[in-house]
């Protein structure tokens, strides 16, 4: 069970989270939903320590192994994909070199490109592959579909299913609810400075709603 207890976070006078809690079993794919600006990215940043926050069980969370999908800024990166293949295992324990090689070969057709030569979509796909290559318990994907064409979206969905296992928790923030809802086992909604409990997607559909309709109603 992965649990965040009483998260508090503000930016200056602006409250983002007030005693927000989150709880999910490993072996699930959880969609983290919320309107723009409610704090989905901030939630990821808080639990991974990228930004400061107050969390009741911070010590416990510190021992969780996270893999947080990185975001490379577009810039003058001279490094190539094979440079990454060499460097990443050094800084990340248990990095799956074979998986990284196999998937980057698949996406980039075996070409050893420089990072600055990648399109936005290719960069996102690379960031995604890095995330899954790491050995972690909780995997965090922040809008993994942003700027991706249908081929890459299919690739990402396929890899999420292939890499899913009982000892891993995937948390995916996304506005592409309709496209991802078949992958989600549950969704949680961020609103009013808090995080809802988990809703089982099949239960939602049982009541005759799509997950998207449910989200719209919950966030009016």
């Amino acid at each position: 069970m992965f649990e965040v207890k009483q998260l508090n976070k503000c930016y200056g006078n602006k409250i983002i989270f007030k005693n927000a809690s989150f709880k999910a079993e490993y072996g699930n794919i959880v969609g983290l939903l919320g309107k723009n600006g409610v704090g989905k990215t901030t939630f990821f940043n808080c639990i991974t320590g990228v930004c400061d926050s107050s969390i009741l069980n911070a010590d416990e969370i510190k021992h969780t192994r996270f893999s947080y999908m990185p975001r490379f800024e577009q810039g003058e990166w001279n490094d190539t994909i094979s440079d990454l293949a060499r460097l990443l295992p050094v800084i990340s324990d248990g990095f799956d070199k074979e998986y990284f090689k196999q998937k980057t070969d698949e996406i980039f057709k075996g070409k050893n490109l420089q990072l600055k030569a990648l399109s936005t979509g290719e960069r996102v796909a690379l960031e995604f592959i890095i995330t899954l290559s790491r050995n972690a318990q909780v995997y965090l994907f922040d809008e993994p579909f942003a700027n991706l064409d249908s081929h890459y979206r299919e690739f990402i969905k396929r890899e999420l299913i292939s890499n899913y296992s009982d000892d891993k928790l995937f948390i995916i923030s996304s506005h592409d609810i309709a496209e991802l809802e078949m992958l989600f086992s549950h969704v949680a909604i961020i609103k009013d400075h808090g995080i809802s409990g988990l809703y089982d997607c099949e239960r939602i559909r049982e009541s005759g709603d799509t997950v998207n309709e449910f989200f719209m109603r919950e966030t009016i």
Partner: protein, 118 residues
């Protein structure tokens, strides 16, 4: 496979496999895809596929071999019986809808022939 987003997905997949078993696309005794394989093919969460197979098992259509996976049951009589029951139930459901709009059975049969081009 096309999904309706407002009906539990595991029912939709289970119904689809049920029909494929009756139609012979899945043969008696045939091994079914693994949970992950089917999840990948259909693009759905593997947990959902676990429910699909539980549901099919409770309908008596498949069985679990503890070591090697899920199989369509091999008992031809049993499948044939379930298939007859399925036909009966679906036809009754359909008929009760049609009778509600005041269409006679004769008219309905003519319509079926017309649509089927006979």
């Amino acid at each position: 496979m096309y999904f309706k987003n407002n009906r539990p997905v595991f029912y939709q997949i289970a119904d689809d496999i049920e029909r494929k078993i009756y139609g012979g696309e899945y043969a008696l005794g045939q091994k079914l895809p693994s949970i992950r394989e089917l999840g990948l093919t259909l693009g759905v969460n593997p947990n959902t596929i676990v429910h699909v197979y539980d549901e099919l098992e409770s309908r008596g259509l498949i069985r679990t071999e503890s070591t090697s996976g899920k199989y369509v049951v091999s008992d031809e009589k049993k499948i044939e019986g379930l298939k007859r029951k399925y036909l009966e139930e679906r036809t009754r459901e359909f008929l009760s809808d049609i009778k509600e709009i005041n269409i006679s059975v004769d008219e309905l049969i003519l319509k079926i022939y017309e649509i089927e081009g006979k």
